[in-house]
């Protein structure tokens, strides 16, 4: 067995850095053939094999600083045992394998088999992507059955409309009347151009999400308080009340886009998303802003029961002007719910959890929740949305502001 050592090429040289192994372990080497490259004082030089044989062992990986005259590798016969008394041995992986050479990517055209994969226009694919629609489930009505824009949008609407409905009793049919319109804003001028700009096709909702953190401490205190005095009211009811109040001063979120007009509803009918075995339903609590927390709370309880028993009437399902969905019970923090057409916005409430927050430079732990408002960008913009959320936040953080009369 012969050892390969790093020679001293000049008196000044104390150490050398291994920059490259020219041979791999068990690769044959000839006497005098360069085995490794070492960077010394200012110079780089190759260290030659002292004998012919195979490189049995590499003792130091690339990058190691080696004192001159140190043994860095062993050369011997194939399979010749390596003396155990060798110093620190770098694990093989550190030496091998060599870095992969980066090659120019070869462009290869892959013929997409038509069966299984839907034939769709580029636009349809893009939309399906955005709405999370599985194109294989969509029926194409374009030439040769190609899936086009309309097909995807139809699929989106169908998914929204899928709610279980109890048969409509003849009697209530006439009583069923749509929410009254307070005023209508012509959907034109800048409003319309904004709409056209922000939407690929201004016949579809352009959902935009804004979120805001709320400190629920005061609300929870208040909640405990009224529970003690008037029994079981739901926290959701409190939140719903706050939202209804906020909607009074931010009416544009209580609206619908109808052709070339944005209709602002006078009634504030908040729909509450309730999860049932058959999926999500959104029964409506009419005039939520005019109802007391207790009334709202009772309404919620009643609607929830009906929903679970599939007893909701069409009347209870229609006429919503704004939707609130509370995913807190499912431990969801932040989420972007889908707007419930023809409404223009939906508010998602996340789980109330203790989080470290900074209040006047102090890190304190508070029960926090995140509000997510998803609104139709064709109808309004981010700033009004933020203002609306801030109002909801203000009310929730100071419940006495809106809960004076319970």
């Amino acid at each position: 067995m012969h050892s390969v050592i790093v020679p001293r090429l000049d008196p000044a040289m104390k150490t050398g850095r291994i920059v490259e192994w020219l041979k791999r372990e068990n690769e044959a080497v000839k006497k005098g053939e360069p085995v490794l490259v070492v960077e010394g004082e200012k110079t780089i030089f190759e260290v030659e094999a002292p004998a012919t044989g195979v490189l049995r062992k590499i003792l130091y990986p690339v990058g190691s600083e080696i004192e001159v005259l140190t043994v860095v590798a062993m050369i011997g016969e194939p399979g010749e045992p390596i003396p155990p008394d060798l110093g620190v041995v770098a694990p093989r992986e550190e030496v091998l394998p060599p870095p992969l050479r980066i090659e120019k990517p070869v462009v290869e055209v892959v013929e997409r088999p038509l069966e299984g994969v839907a034939r769709a226009s580029p636009l349809a694919r893009k939309l399906a992507d955005e709405y999370g629609i599985d194109l294989t489930t969509v029926k194409g009505t374009g030439p040769g059955g190609r899936i086009v824009k309309e097909d995807v949008l139809r699929a989106v609407e169908e998914r929204r409309a899928a709610v279980p409905v109890a048969p409509l009793p003849e009697a209530v049919a006439p009583a069923l009347k749509p929410p009254r319109i307070a005023k209508t804003i012509p959907f034109s001028g800048t409003r319309k151009t904004i709409a056209e700009r922000v939407s690929y096709s201004f016949h579809t909702v352009v959902p935009v999400t804004v979120t805001m953190e709320v400190n629920m401490e005061n609300l929870l205190d208040y909640y405990e308080g009224i529970k003690a005095t008037m029994g079981d009211v739901s926290l959701t009811a409190l939140i719903l009340k706050a939202v209804a109040k906020a909607l009074e001063s931010h009416a544009v979120f209580n609206s619908t886009l109808d052709g070339n007009e944005i209709k602002i509803f006078e009634d504030i009918n908040i729909a509450l998303a309730i999860n049932t075995p058959d999926g999500l339903v959104t029964p409506v609590i009419r005039n939520s802003n005019k109802k007391s927390v207790v009334e709202i709370s009772n309404a919620i309880r009643e609607l929830t029961e009906k929903a679970m028993q599939r007893k909701l009437s069409l009347q209870e399902l229609l006429g919503g002007t704004f939707t609130v969905t509370n995913m807190g019970p499912y431990d969801v923090e932040i989420f972007a719910p889908i707007i419930n057409p023809p409404q223009s916005a939906i508010l998602g409430i996340g789980r109330i959890a203790k989080r470290a927050v900074i209040i006047n430079d102090q890190i304190v732990v508070k029960p926090m929740a995140t509000l997510s408002l998803v609104f139709d960008h064709r109808v309004t913009d981010g700033v009004p949305a933020a203002e609306f959320l801030r109002e909801v936040k203000r009310l929730l953080e100071a419940p006495n502001l809106f809960l004076s009369n319970v």
């Binding site: 110079t43 780089i44 030659e48």
Partner: protein, 253 residues
């Protein structure tokens, strides 16, 4: 009188320029090329040492801004900025040549830079070799060099600041360790590259008693250059390997 080859070959592509240098060393090592002197320039490049880390040495944003390409050379040492105002010189010799028979390897710098030093002096500048591997004018560096020693041959290449844009130089390098100057500055007159080359070549005659003759690259050499360029110098992973895989082999040629 002994004849060496003079190569006055430079490419716009700095990676190709570097490939040529290593190819010369390989060719001389294989004894298929004579001892060679080469002059060349890079348009706008930052040349870093064999095992230097881009992160540590280079301000990449500045490089982007100035369109500076970063090239890893196969010899050691520090990073140098090069534009058309910097003349690179390369000397490759068999080790059995009397000039290359040095007791200590570091002497190659002194020996191989002596013609350059002579040339600079001939232009009327008081310059001196400063161990281990620089030429200085007073306290300012004007030329730095690095070397690669093979079994049969040795290569020494260096820079010579003629009229380099020192602003870019300082902006792309994280640290400029020594004060630098340029021939332009010292002479304070316009000076053509051709003129400087002539001066250095005269230096060869006087110092080595060697004549240089313009000879083209051989077909084998061009083959080596192409291979090195494609497989090594033009590859992302060679130029960035010290950052990518600090403790693994650099790519093989």
């Amino acid at each position: 009188m002994e004849m060496w080859r003079l190569l006055d070959i430079e490419y716009r592509d700095p990676y190709k320029n570097m490939a040529v240098d290593e190819a010369l060393l390989i060719a001389v090592e294989r004894n298929i090329a004579p001892n060679t002197v080469r002059f060349w320039r890079n348009l706008n490049a930052l040349v870093i040492g064999r095992s230097q880390s881009l992160e540590e040495e280079v301000i990449l944003e500045a490089c982007e801004k100035h369109g500076t390409s970063v090239v890893r050379r196969f010899t050691g040492g520090g990073a140098v900025y090069q534009d058309h105002g910097n003349l690179n010189w390369t000397i490759v010799s068999r080790r059995d040549h009397p000039l290359a028979k040095v007791k200590e390897i570091l002497e190659v710098f002194k020996v191989f830079s002596s013609p350059i030093l002579e040339g600079i002096k001939a232009l009327g500048i008081r310059a001196e070799f400063k161990p281990p591997n620089s030429i200085f004018v007073d306290d300012k560096k004007i030329s730095g060099m690095a070397a690669y020693v093979k079994r049969e041959s040795v290569l020494c290449h260096g820079t010579l600041l003629v009229k380099t844009d020192l602003n870019i130089l300082t902006s792309v390098l994280k640290s400029v360790k020594t004060k630098v100057t340029t021939l332009q500055r010292e002479l304070d007159t316009q000076i053509s590259m051709a003129h400087i080359k002539r001066a250095i070549i005269t230096g060869f005659n006087s110092m080595y008693d060697v004549k240089v003759k313009r000879v083209k690259l051989s077909r084998e050499e061009i083959g080596i250059i192409k291979r090195l360029y494609k497989n090594k110098y033009a590859t992302e992973e060679w130029n960035a390997w010290a950052d990518n895989h600090p403790s693994s082999d650099p790519p093989k040629r």
